[in-house]
């Protein structure tokens, strides 16, 4: 039992390190090779985790090989477009200039329901509104609406909006984040001034957000019962 516990801990650490080494892309958008590696790693790690008769090396070595291959392949994909196309394929246009490309849909084995579903997920509820729909190499769909169906932007309407910059959490559960303060171009002195003005202190704040313009929002902690 203890051996299984320690082995699982060790494998967990190795898997976390492996996924970190492969990069953030691994977690969010899986390309073909990344999906294969993720499935294989989870499968390989399970064997020595359950079977204490197998040495841990029989899990570590294949994981290390997969990580190595994944990094090499992603580096090669950056260097060569042809290689990238061979591994990941290419984006396919299923709606081109407002016209549904049935040949491409058949190639993708995509049904009309799949198309409608993916469009709805992009907040498009009529195929007529779509100028272009592209199935990306990671399987997600990108949609460009027809110009007359696009929502007007402030730029189109000629309205000048103030640039408030990024809003960041400068205090989280009583802890001040210098990194967030720096992101919104504010200093500790500014924060101290705001807290003094509100007659409170950082320890009493649950969340405080701020932006570059100097707008802020404070939510204080609930009183403990």
């Amino acid at each position: 039992m203890t051996i299984s516990f320690i082995r699982t801990l060790l494998l967990y650490i190795v898997i976390i390190a492996a996924v970190r080494l492969m990069g953030k892309r691994q977690i969010s958008e899986l390309q073909t090779s990344e999906l294969v590696v993720t499935l294989l790693i989870s499968d390989i790690a399970a064997i020595p985790m359950q079977d204490t008769g197998q040495p841990l090396a029989s899990g570590f070595i294949p994981i290390a090989v997969l990580v190595m291959c994944e990094i090499l392949i992603s580096a090669l994909m950056l260097k060569s477009t042809k290689f990238r196309r061979a591994i990941c394929g290419r984006p396919l246009i299923v709606i081109n200039d407002g016209k549904v490309d049935q040949k491409e849909m058949r190639r993708l084995r995509m049904s009309t329901e799949d198309l409608s579903e993916q469009l709805r997920q992009k907040n498009v509820f009529s195929i007529e509104d779509v100028a272009y729909a592209i199935v990306e190499t990671n399987g997600k769909m990108s949609v460009i609406k027809k110009p007359d169906k696009e929502q007007p932007t402030a730029g189109m309407l000629g309205v000048a909006l103030p640039d408030t910059g990024i809003e960041t959490v400068v205090i989280s559960d009583g802890v001040i984040s210098d990194f967030s303060l720096k992101l919104c171009n504010k200093s500790r002195d500014w924060l101290d001034g705001v807290l003094r003005g509100k007659n409170t202190k950082a320890d009493d704040i649950f969340i405080m957000t701020a932006n570059r313009k100097g707008d802020f929002n404070i939510i204080t902690k609930d009183e403990k019962k």
């Binding site: 990069g23 040495p55 290390a64 190595m68």
Partner: protein, 126 residues
Amino acid sequence: MKRVWASAIIFVFLVVICVIGTNTTKKVSAQMAQTVTTAKEAAAKGDMDTALKFSRKASSDWRDSHEYLCTFMPHNQLESIDQTLSVLPMLCYYGATDQFEAECERGITQIMYLNESQLPSIANIL
């Protein structure tokens, strides 16, 4: 670029580990097979004292190697050799020569199989 270097380091590390593993298995199995063969030959000549000495040496050497081998080899393969080698000194001590020789032969085969199973040959890979 840092990740590519990390992958290169992993590659070198893996190659080193694999080479060390294969060489260690070769060395240990050759040494063990030699000791067991000597014990068997001594028993065949009727020299039971030498046979006992070498069978004890085989058991003790195997115990030392086992700790190292089990870090990269399936434990069930090693356990079967454990069981074979552990009975050799007792068989020799009580004069069961025929059974001792048979067990020695079994031990040698198991050790050679252990070595062969770790070699990166086409048969093992496929």
